[in-house]
Symmetry: C2
Subunit: 379 residues, 2 copies
């Protein structure tokens, strides 16, 4: 392999694939990035076996020439050092040449680097994904759907299936669900593709966070290809492969109450600020318990207390309060997580009693639904 | 104590003093902030016994009214929660009222906070500092002098005196010195105050880092008062007290070579970039060893190697090279620390052989002098 390439384009591709490099691995080849030069371009690949990312740099684009391949071939280079050094190379052009036993010479300006490369034959082969089930979704929407659900996955590895987000596509409606058994987040979006459908696809929350980072901010379409136990995300020249989590996701539809005894409509930011202050105190108690009660004047009171520090009490006016008086306690951290991701100016909150799930939705649409279980507390 | 005060001014004073709150202490009162209201203003004090910071908020300034004291008095409030909550209060005005047993009520808008306060009589009394030895120094210069020396203090508590920076003021010249026995940083500045002199004042590096944070960016004068075992920094309404470190600082003047066998003048940024790349590789070996050698064409070569990864070689042109050929090895991290703080475009580097101290100075002035001991290496 022998080629010359622009540093910035090489660096950009490295940044993309580096997110899939195995950070703690006993298999040396997985801590590397595979480079493969063909006559049309350079392909970089990294994989930790759960996720694999591939980025292709074409040698020619309509705008400019990015590089020239003098000799095709491939090599695996140690990722950690390679990622850092390419950023800092002095010249805008980088020359790469692989010699005997994968010894690789990198030159740029007056800098010469000899790197011990590894045999690309040892690098894992990417899964073959049949492209018969393809969904297109705007990148912005995909990022929103991830952001509005992924925080609710569990970090507890004893229920591996709940460390992932459940994806369904039925009747042209895309739905994400995440739950850690104490709370649930769900988000739907109509994408109007009636010929594709899938259900019970569960993708790790960690993987989705990595995916969200490489979806570009410009609103491009992302193609999603679902195969046997793999999902492939196609973002222009970047391919992102993820394994699906094994197992059956629990049916959560039955735990969501459909009617409420007390209903609130109120300003998201005002509620968020009030709970944030109460949370500060409850955090010191390490319980995060905050209480919400309706008041005689038709508003609500948010409060928390700490035996050591004292008490915070917040009076809050609401837009609407319907139904029975209520007194309920919940984990303020869970509520703040929800309020942070809901982009709606006003919220609907529905209660069916002090011991029953709390439902939070944007006031103006039905796309998002969040559930929090209350604390069973006696005082 | 009973008063009303603007939230932003209260918050600013809290941010200043909070840097002195003891973070891990078995003495509860030290984890608090003392508030004392007089007829003219509110004074906040925090102390971890090594450093104490006091900030005074006047009730009236030429521009505006900041508050009103209805009843003088004092209380100690738990710092961690108080620092966080004041930032987040909903209204621009905050009302504070101390009741029975130092129970304190904080109200702002529709937020009410009851805090368990502590007895201010238990709070440590600040040292009395005689103001007969006062030096004035521009804040910018003080921050520069700290930044250019403090990185060289040792973190090793077995030689406590070397965890501090040595300050001397003689013949109108202010001098800071720091060393960890492997390197030395020194900075001088003429402040032309011939009537004040002091020597062997050693102030903890950690303390100086905190001090640098609260010296404002606008170029104001800082008054420095030196007393028995305390130094007081006066920054407008903020007073910063620091204990001096006990012990005698070693005499470092004799280890600085005055003549050199090899002298280099070169561009700071080019050298810094080249060493940074070599450092990236040497870091993987955990030694940070980088080699520098003069080349036949009158330049230098910077290199590092790692048995696992490979080798980095950098060719560097220099402005001037005088004296004997040289081959030397040193800790690249120490060199980068120096290059980061020297603001000069070109540097002088003097060598007296592969086993002797390396001297680094700005090319255009004698204000800074840095010394690094080389590695004794055979290859």
């Amino acid at each position: 392999m022998k080629l010359t390439i622009l540093r910035n384009e090489l660096n950009e591709a490295i940044q993309h694939v580096s997110k899939a490099v195995a950070s703690r691995t006993t298999i040396p080849i997985l801590s590397g990035i595979k480079l493969e030069a063909t006559n049309t371009g350079l392909t970089l690949t990294a994989s930790d076996t759960d996720i694999s990312i591939q980025s292709f740099i074409p040698m020619e684009t309509p705008d400019k020439t990015i590089g020239t391949v003098e000799k095709t071939g491939s090599v695996v280079l140690p990722a950690k050092f390679f990622v850092e050094i390419v950023k800092k190379l002095p010249h805008e052009e980088v020359h790469l040449e692989v010699g005997d036993r994968f010894q690789t010479m990198i030159t740029s300006g007056a800098t010469e680097i000899q790197l011990v490369g590894l045999d690309p034959e040892e690098f894992p082969v990417l899964p073959t994904v049949q492209e018969d089930q393809v969904v297109s979704i705007p990148g912005d929407l995909l990022k929103d759907m991830i952001r509005q659900t992924v925080f609710a996955v569990t970090t507890n590895e004893s229920t591996p299936i709940l460390t992932g987000v459940l994806w369904n596509l039925q009747e042209g409606v895309y739905k994400f669900v995440a739950t850690d058994r104490h709370r649930l987040a769900s988000r739907t979006a109509a994408i109007e593709m009636y010929d594709v459908r899938f259900s019970n696809i569960v993708i790790s929350g960690k993987t989705l966070n990595e995916l969200a980072k490489i979806v570009p901010d410009q609103n491009v379409m992302v193609d999603i290809v679902v195969a046997d136990n793999q999902v492939l995300f196609k973002l222009g020249n970047v391919l992102f492969y993820s394994r699906m989590l094994d197992g059956t996701y629990p049916d959560t539809s039955k735990i969501i109450p459909q009617t409420f005894k007390t209903e609130l409509i109120l300003n998201t930011k005002q509620l968020s600020d009030a709970i944030d202050r109460a949370y500060l105190l409850s955090r010191e108690e390490k319980t995060n318990i905050v209480r919400l009660m309706t008041t005689e004047d038709g508003g609500i009171e948010i409060s928390s207390s700490s035996s050591e520090l004292g008490k915070v009490t917040e009076q809050l006016a609401v837009t609407e309060l319907r139904g029975e008086p209520l007194k309920i306690a919940f984990n303020s951290k869970y509520m703040l997580d929800v309020l942070k991701v809901l982009d709606s100016e006003e919220l609907f909150i529905g209660f069916t009693g002090a011991m029953s799930p709390i439902i939070i939705k944007p006031r103006d649409n039905e796309n998002s639904l969040h559930l929090i279980l209350p604390y069973r507390t006696t005082n």
